[in-house]
């Protein structure tokens, strides 16, 4: 191998890591070029959504299960952090971890029975779970504040340094998102991750090859719930105000749309899906009127023509074209 080949080999071997480094650098420098707090607020929202979508994509894309209820775990994280910090004066960071631990327990208790179901039943059961959670948020107003929401949640702090403006929040939230991204990227290349992918391909075959399917499903469900809960806690501390509408079944379907648009089973796609769907309202002035329509149309068109997701689908198509053309040239 000469030097040039060696460099190319090194790059292709470490391409995932290099992409992560490139992304981190871009994010590190981003606030130097973009100081508009509104825009930064938007990218922060993308980062929060991306954490949920990363977890949900592990569950939907990698293990082939369905959840129309992850807004509930997102909401549990947010309300959990809010209640712990405001009513019980727990410091924000321990509260975040404590709440995530509690949510993992809740997900375990719900997941063990619910994951015996599959397909449509699972979709409806998770949707039902999200609905019950949303109703409790609305009705239990002594604790949750009911429909008018929960205000006065403190910001996250380290010592006397408070994450209270968009630039500081940018670094905090994106750091967490990058950590989650690394976790997911490594997980899907581990033995457990390969088992999950096998589960998505064919459950019976995966079981025959020695994957403990029941346990794997529950583990991924719990992991995705914990990620959603962490995202929820960050959401609560970022906006210092939360209301039940941010956690209803329509938000849950929006998370699913992000997963599908980014590509089921594509970790990088999760970032893209979260980004695209969160940014849509900004790109279209008329969007508020046509919001549902556009969201639904994107979901339907992607599923019909590029079921692997927008980016993955387009790249796959280009690859097939290229290969066909190569063969065409070789034949003549």
């Amino acid at each position: 191998m000469n030097n040039k080949e060696r460099i190319i080999y090194f790059i292709s071997l470490h391409r995932t890591g290099l992409w992560v480094i490139v992304l981190s650098l871009i994010l590190l420098l981003y606030p130097l070029f973009e100081q508009n707090p509104y825009t930064l607020g938007l990218t922060n929202l993308i980062a929060i959504n991306a954490i949920v979508v990363l977890g949900l994509n592990l569950f939907i894309g990698y293990s082939g299960q369905i959840s129309l209820g992850h807004a509930a775990f997102f909401g549990l994280g947010a309300y959990g952090s809010a209640v712990a910090t405001v009513y019980f004066s727990v410091p924000a960071w321990p509260a975040l971890i404590l709440v995530a631990a509690l949510v993992s327990l809740v997900a375990l208790v719900i997941g063990i029975p619910i994951l015996r179901l599959s397909g449509h039943y699972l979709a409806m059961a998770t949707l039902g779970m999200n609905f019950v959670f949303h109703t409790i948020l609305l009705q239990w107003d002594e604790v949750t504040g009911g429909p008018s929401g929960f205000a006065g949640i403190p910001s996250l702090t380290i010592g006397s340094f408070a994450f209270d403006n968009e630039v500081r929040l940018h670094y905090l939230i994106w750091s967490v998102t990058l950590l989650c991204l690394l976790l997911c990227l490594n997980l899907v290349r581990s033995g457990v991750g390969r088992g999950m992918a096998a589960l998505a391909g064919d459950e019976v075959a995966a079981a025959a090859l020695g994957v403990n399917t029941r346990q794997t499903k529950v583990k991924v469900f719990v992991l995705s719930a914990v990620l959603a809960s962490v995202a929820g806690s960050l959401f609560a501390h970022t906006y210092t105000f939360i209301s039940p509408d941010s956690f209803d079944i329509f938000v849950a379907t929006d998370f699913v749309i992000m997963v599908v648009v980014g590509g089921m089973g594509s970790i990088w796609g999760s970032l893209f899906g979260a980004g695209l769907i969160s940014m849509l309202p900004e790109w279209m002035d008329l969007f508020q009127t046509y919001k549902d329509f556009v969201h639904g149309a994107i979901l339907v068109l992607v599923l019909m023509f590029l079921p692997q997701g927008l980016v993955t689908g387009l790249i796959d198509n280009a690859r097939i074209r290229l290969a066909l053309r190569k063969r065409h040239h070789a034949e003549h």
């Binding site: 939907i60 082939g64 369905i66 129309l68 029975p113 619910i114 015996r116 179901l117 397909g119 449509h120 039943y121 979709a123 409806m124 059961a125 949707l127 039902g128 779970m129 609905f131 019950v132 109703t135 409790i136 009705q139 079944i249 379907t253 699913v256 749309i257 599908v260 089921m264 009127t289 046509y290 919001k291 549902d292 329509f293 556009v294 969201h295 639904g296 149309a297 994107i298 979901l299 339907v300 599923l303 019909m304 079921p307």
Partner: protein, 287 residues
């Protein structure tokens, strides 16, 4: 005491009949196409909306308005099947489920665009003068709901057991491959099952919106409860759908009456989750 009980009973059966109609719509599509049709929830809202337009924009009397609204929803359902679902040609569960979710979001968006976000009121079929039955006062609309639900069930039975299209639909439900082998037109069967589901959802919408209110998302909750009823009775079974609907309606009104009305809407989903855990085949489902 007894009077209260009878009052709750009537309220429960009224809602139950509506859930049964919606559940039947879910079952028809599931039996012939093997998918859960999330769009069903919006057929309910659309039925109410079309009735509203038929009465106030076209100035039709009640019965022609009702028939027009039901036919309209059936037509929309057929369009959705033909141009929304069929081009996908996928047998991947995830893709099909999310596809119907997406179509449901689109239809809800269209309804919101056409009729707006405001809550509207639909008049009942006959003027609201409560009738006394066994000491409980019952709205005439509730009696209409019982009557029209019975007629719908009778028509469905006639269709499935006395017509050749109904026979082919039962054939597809019992064995799709064998049905295709003997040359039963799959497209027509799918289209018909969607039309029936649309008509049942539309009827439910026309009947229930005078009691609740009419808005673009009124069908979401009703539809999800209808699905819970279908699961409760055993998904795919027609008698199960009817029993499940009535059972769920009764459970809901009795728990609202005797326990707490704040969490009335949660009952359906607790029942759904319980049934799925304990006996996923439901009351009348096959093992």
């Amino acid at each position: 005491m007894l009077q209260d009980f009878i009052q709750y009973l009537f309220a429960g059966l009224t809602n139950g009949a509506i859930y049964a109609l919606i559940a039947l719509g879910f079952c028809v599509v599931n039996n012939t196409m093997g998918i859960v049709n999330f769009v069903q929830v919006d057929f309910v809202s659309l039925g109410g909306m079309l009735m509203f337009s038929a009465l106030f924009a076209l100035g039709l009397p009640m019965i022609p308005g009702l028939l027009l609204a039901i036919a309209g929803v059936a037509l929309v359902a057929m369009v959705i099947e033909r141009f929304g679902l069929r081009p996908a040609r996928s047998d991947n569960h995830l893709v099909l489920i999310f596809l119907t979710v997406g179509l449901s979001i689109i239809l809800r968006g269209v309804i919101k665009l056409v009729w707006g976000k405001n809550r509207m009121a639909l008049p009942p079929l006959t003027p609201d003068k409560p009738v006394e039955i066994l000491g409980a006062s019952v709205l005439p609309q509730a009696l209409w709901i019982f009557l029209l639900t019975l007629i719908a069930i009778a028509l469905l039975t006639w269709f499935f057991y006395r017509t050749s299209l109904g026979l082919s639909m039962r054939a597809v439900a019992s064995n799709p491959t064998a049905a295709a082998v003997v040359g039963i037109p799959a497209g027509r069967v799918r289209l018909t099952s969607y039309a029936i589901a649309g008509a049942l959802g539309g009827l439910a919408g026309v009947l229930v919106t005078p009691i609740t209110t009419l808005s673009y998302d009124v069908g979401v909750l009703l539809g999800l409860k209808g699905f819970a009823a279908a699961i409760f009775g055993g998904f795919g079974s027609f008698p199960g759908a009817i029993l499940g609907g009535l059972g769920l309606g009764l459970l809901e009104s009795l728990s609202a009456g005797y326990i707490s009305s704040a969490y009335k809407d949660v009952v359906a989903f607790l029942v759904l989750l319980l049934v799925l855990f304990v006996r996923p085949t439901g009351l009348m489902g096959k093992e």
